[in-house]
């Protein structure tokens, strides 16, 4: 419970930060300086982490096979779950990245009548997918603040997202979905004893921070409308490297910004780097072709072996006695 408490306090402190800064007249820190610092941290950190992984050698071809491998021509192989080549790997990775294929296998277990019973447990997969996809859509929708004129596809995406026209302004489906996803992921961690047992500060903090971003965003859209023109002017200012300290922008917006920039800056140092790491996972992005194609280990080095000569020298007498052929008499 301690980790939950500390995460909550950390997020509340971040929420109070903009108000404190504006009280001492330092709002510009958040609107004009923090964005660049956060983006710099994010980009440099992200690239650094990816490069560190990418330049680490992959000594062995260790793909985890989840389907029949390619063998005899009349045996039906599974080209995606046990890919034998490039295209299969791409398909497998696409399934993992876009559809969370492996998580879809999820089951749970309970001992019923003296034996383990495996149940379907797709909720984690469903809510995980809901969360990630809606997050992606929300980020894409926000591009409207960074381009002028607004690209038609962004408008179309927003229109589709608000298709049901519930409420005024329209409730975006992605907003509802991300709330459902986040709530599930957080409650699961807090309520399920095993999940609580394995969870670290960072696990709660990531969820609460993102929940902070989402909540402040929703507050601005539905309850404390922000001046969208001022927001756009600010965002365009960032993009054109001529930021201005905006007037008339609400405290909620400042909190929103503060959460986002902390998230960005923290991202590369945290478990959130799974977003980049998944592409480099050797059990998934390698073909199951290790008997077909030679795989090179860059640090392969000679080792001490026991040669046949040494073996025969020790056992020659016994081999001859048993009538086994020997090389030296």
């Amino acid at each position: 419970m301690k980790n939950i408490g500390i995460s909550l306090i950390a997020v509340l402190i971040l929420a109070a930060l903009p108000t404190a800064l504006s009280a001492v007249g330092l709002t510009g820190l958040i609107t004009n300086i923090l964005p660049y610092v956060a983006i710099a941290f994010f980009l440099i950190g992200f690239v650094f982490r990816i490069l560190l992984w990418a330049k680490s050698p992959v000594p062995f071809r260790i793909s985890t096979t989840c389907g029949q491998g390619k063998s005899l021509p009349w045996i039906k192989s599974n080209p995606v779950e046990s890919p034998a080549g490039y295209w299969g790997v791409i398909a497998r990775m696409a399934q993992e990245v876009f559809l969370f294929r492996s998580l879809f296998r999820n089951t749970d277990v309970a001992i019923v009548d003296g034996r383990p019973v495996y149940g379907s447990a797709k909720w984690l997969w469903f809510c995980g997918l809901l969360f990630h996809w809606s997050f992606a859509i929300i980020v894409l929708r926000h591009l409207r603040f960074f381009v002028e004129p607004i690209a038609p596809w962004i408008g179309a995406l927003s229109a589709l997202d608000g298709f049901f026209e519930i409420g005024i302004p329209t409730l975006y489906l992605s907003d509802a979905a991300i709330l459902v996803g986040l709530t599930f992921l957080f409650l699961r961690r807090v309520v399920v004893p095993q999940m609580r047992y394995i969870s670290l500060f960072t696990d709660y903090f990531s969820l609460l921070l993102i929940a902070g971003v989402v909540t402040t965003g929703l507050l601005m859209r539905h309850f404390f409308p922000a001046d969208l023109n001022a927001v756009k002017a600010l965002a365009m200012g960032w993009v054109t490297f001529s930021p201005v300290v905006p007037q008339e922008i609400s405290a909620v917006f400042h909190i929103h910004l503060c959460f986002i920039f902390v998230l960005l800056a923290w991202f590369p140092a945290s478990k959130l780097m799974h977003a980049g790491g998944i592409f480099l996972s050797p059990t998934r992005n390698l073909a199951n072709d290790s008997r077909m194609q030679r795989h090179i280990n860059p640090w392969n080095a000679p080792v001490k072996v026991h040669t046949y000569e040494e073996y025969e020298d020790e056992f020659r007498g016994k081999m001859k006695a048993s009538g086994l052929p020997v090389e030296k008499e």
Binding site: N3, P59, P116, S281, H306, S322
Partner: protein, 539 residues
Amino acid sequence: MSFAKIPKPDQLIKISYAPPETAWMDTPVDFRPGTWSYSGAAKNLTYLDLPNPRAWQPADTDWKLPADWQAIILNGMKERLEKYRSFRLFLDVCVRCGACADKCHFYIGSGDPKNMPVLRAELLRSVYRRYFTTSGKVFGKIAGARDLTVDVLKEWFYYFYQCTECRRCSAFCPFGIDQAEITMMGRELLNLVGCNINWVIEPAANCFRTGNHLGIQPGGIKDMLEFMADDIEDRTGIRVNVPINKVDADILFVTPSGDYFADPGTFTCMGYLMLFHEIGLNYTFSTYASEGGNFGLFTSAEMVKRLNAKIYAEAKRLGVKWILGGECGHMWRVIHQYMDTMNGPADFLQEPVSPITGTRFENARATKMVHITEFTADLIRNGKLKLDPQRNDHIRFTYHDSCNPARAMGLFEEPRYIIQKTCDHFFEMAEDTIREKTLCCGAGAGLGNDENMEMRMRGGMPRAMAVKKVVEKHGVNRLGCICAIDRATLTSLMDYWVPGVTVMGVHELLANALVMTGEKERTTDLRGNDMNIDVDKSI
């Protein structure tokens, strides 16, 4: 095999999944008898030039570690972080979603949260954070970091020798994090300070010296194989040849030494001998490369390579065309995913072609080693074998996918094809427990020793219960597999959880059904059991 010291099955099944009151970092490891393996004997470490040979046991307070053991471990971690992307990545990207947690047979069977793959990895990850990441160095425990202490090392030992490297968790992880990789690294690190188990190190030392894990010397191998030939003659009236160390054979045959050492593996080995005789294969066994398995895999990558080197070296010395490998699990992990990389290229061998059917095994064109079920399935498909599946009517068969052929090769259909052609009573276990979701025997990766019996029975429980289900539903009496460790350890597991079910290799099943040229009337199977009982009718 004695179950005297461990709780009865109805007690053992009372498993609680409620985590302890204390946080995992504050819960010290308890070396309870029956749940750990004896330490590696000094003589074996010395023979293999491994560090810190000494007399000690895991339950001792003082493990007699070298004075600078922390520096050795941390340097070892640094070296491995630089050598393995898998290690660094898998330490970095876990989000603790918990999808792996209840996929581990040891967790399902013990309820110990440190047997959740996620937490077993955190044992190492927490030390990685403390010494190799900024957040861990600065924020310590709040960042999930902790100091490397003797207690942490003991915890590593206990739990990295409670993982069979079966890779089931890796099939369910959204990032493909493979606990086997973490365990392998953990065991390599433990080996740097001389902490390993005798059930791994003695076979490795034996294998280095005598060519096989069991330490069988050349004459012994010949005697055992000849003894099997006697038994075959007794059952079939046919005397099969036992070619050993034969220069200029077409094919070198390599199988785990468990297959010629003890029942029920020997029956599988008799199956190979009968098959090769019947098709007139020009092949040879080797006493120098008399082990397909590789307990180096449970020690270090270097040891894998040291033990594996013999196979190509012997193939070259004998001048064979290619290599055929018997039924074994972790052996095939090594052959399929490591051998060519470590000890290849095998450019002195030819691309494998079946001398009987002419089939080219393109999937083995680089490594030049073919799995026996690929070879046999091809024979059957091409009508080269006369089979009478009714001879297996006394067997009601279910099939256990051995972990490594399943999740490190994708070998699912070849053995099933052979089974379907040789047995009319084949019943699959539940979908969640076979193929890529197969459950471990609970005793792989060197854990199949007697002192670890309680943990083996716990770890094997999910597999055993899946068997029990088909026993109740279909009257199954035989559990088949393609792994030598399985044949040895599933036997104990069945005796404990599902008495009455015996274990066999697929090539024993084949040999029962194989109609051999010039054979006498077969009345018994390879085990000497009456084969004229149709269990269907007797139930």
